[in-house]
């Protein structure tokens, strides 16, 4: 009986840190063009100076502009989370992950939407989530599956499919 099995065999392992970082950079570049692009006009028009001190002084004294920046940042974070969560749910990959050939996998059964959302919580720009900007990646070095803290909490991990003949 011919089973028509693929000639190349593969096995799954934890995705390397380098691939994960490159995939994240690629995703951020994509988001920079498509999501940050429309908001760039607001930032350019609202923040009057490239000088940090002047811009800070201006924003401190102008509540409306500060509100606009804060609102923009919240909207951007929502869109970033949607990008990662929807694509990881539907395809288990984002653009960067496709290029690096790595996947998101659930440790239990099927990947669920809440898992994809929890994985992306580090993108929220307010307390207490901004603490994840440090805790999340640092946790990776202490986890045997190379999971970030939010990946551990969402019971997901990023894997790589290794092929060999």
């Amino acid at each position: 009986m011919r089973l028509n099995l693929p000639k190349k065999k593969s096995f799954v392992g934890n995705a390397s840190l380098v691939k994960r970082i490159i995939a994240f950079i690629v995703d951020i570049l994509i988001l920079n063009i498509f999501v940050l692009g429309p908001f760039r006009k607001i930032f350019i028009n609202v923040i009057p100076s490239n000088n940090f001190r002047e811009a800070y002084d201006f924003l401190i004294n102008n509540r409306l502009e500060t509100n606009a920046i804060q609102l923009s940042v919240v909207f951007i974070a929502i869109l970033f989370i949607l990008y990662f969560s929807v694509l990881e749910l539907k395809t288990k990959q984002t653009v960067g992950k496709i290029i690096m050939n790595i996947y998101v996998e659930s440790k239990k059964k099927e990947l669920r939407y809440w898992q994809c959302i929890v994985r992306s919580l580090f993108l929220l720009p307010f307390f207490p989530f901004i603490l994840l900007w440090i805790i999340d990646p640092v946790y990776l070095f202490f986890n045997k599956d190379n999971q970030r803290l939010t990946e551990y909490l969402s019971r997901t991990k990023v894997i790589e499919k290794f092929k060999y003949v």
């Binding site: 498509f34 692009g37 429309p38 201006f58």
Partner: protein, 317 residues
């Protein structure tokens, strides 16, 4: 094997379709959110990019919107003061340029704007176009530099509060004015009776006092003596070239000249930004309906409207 490969390719294609759809939707959502922020949050406010803030002073200068000037252009003093304060707080703005095309207006409104200009530490320039007379000149005099075209109309330093008096007309039609007041000056300047000599004296004294304030402000602003300013404060207007000889303006020129002066002074390349009331979508819609309603009302009530004009007493510079 071929079926397996085809399935994999189809799966890969579907993946890319999903990715493209998601990215496009996110881009559209991004533009939508930006639109919401601009529409509702920035309604009525200004962009702050730019190093020269341009503030327009057009039409009648008032302290608040007046229905009598519904269709005439007007400048509200509180708006201008708000723009000046915002330009003051913006570190990128090096100078404020006032583009003036106004015959004047309320003395209080002109003083409010003039005071706000004098409070700011930024370099201020006024450019008078067709007209910068009376209250508009009061405002211009508060700036560091006044530029006008040689044919611009300026000056008109004085106060007016004239009104139409209908007592003769009422007598002709046998209409009597029933005077019921508590306080003998309560109906001073009523259009339905003659002003008494005493009332005229009181009124004139107030107008003269306001004129003195006007003269005092111009003298201080232009670094002239009061007696010199008084010489040309009989309400006479002057064209630009005359005004320069009298010291009422500094330079004959236009907006481009003003920009060049600012560029040379601060060694910058001018990036003008207009500070003005931005209309929201809702403002535009309600404006359209308001104007249509006004047209209808104007047709029906035009005679009543004209009569109501003379009932109010206002003092203008």
């Amino acid at each position: 094997m071929n079926i397996f490969r085809k399935k994999m390719k189809k799966k890969q294609r579907n993946k890319w379709v999903i990715i493209i759809v998601v990215v496009v939707i996110l881009w559209l959502l991004g533009n939508f959110f930006v639109g919401i922020i601009k529409l509702f949050l920035f309604a009525g406010e200004i962009d702050v990019a730019g190093n020269i803030a341009v503030i327009h002073i057009k039409g009648i200068i008032l302290t608040s919107k007046d229905p009598r000037f519904f269709y005439e252009e007007s400048t509200i003093s509180s708006d201008v003061v708000k723009f000046i304060e915002r330009a003051e707080k913006n570190p990128a703005v090096k100078a404020i340029l006032f583009e003036i095309n106004s015959p004047g207006g309320s003395a209080v409104a002109s003083d409010e704007i003039g005071s706000a200009i004098k409070k700011t530490k930024k370099f201020t320039v006024s450019v008078i176009r067709d007209t910068g007379a009376s209250g508009a000149y009061w405002i211009a005099s508060a700036t560091d530099l006044i530029i006008a075209n040689k044919m611009s109309i300026t000056g008109s330093i004085g106060v007016i509060s004239s009104y139409l008096e209908f007592s003769g007309l009422l007598d002709k039609y046998g209409v009597e004015y029933q005077r019921l007041v508590s306080g003998k000056y309560k109906d001073i300047a009523s259009p339905f009776r003659n002003m008494t000599a005493e009332e005229e004296r009181i009124f004139q004294k107030n107008l003269d006092t306001i004129r003195d304030y006007f003269i005092e402000e111009v003298a201080k602003n232009r670094n002239m003596s009061k007696s010199k300013v008084r010489q040309f404060s009989e309400g006479l207007f002057y064209i630009g070239s005359e005004a320069k000889e009298l010291g009422l303006i500094d330079v004959l020129g236009n907006k481009d000249d003003a920009v060049k002066i600012i560029e040379d002074k601060f060694n910058i390349t001018a990036d003008l930004v207009e500070y003005k009331e931005k209309k929201t979508f809702m403002d535009i819609i309600s404006d359209v309906f308001s104007r249509q309603s006004f047209r209808v009302g104007q047709g029906i009530g035009s005679s009543l409207f004209r009569e109501s004009l003379v009932n109010d007493l206002s003092i203008y510079t």
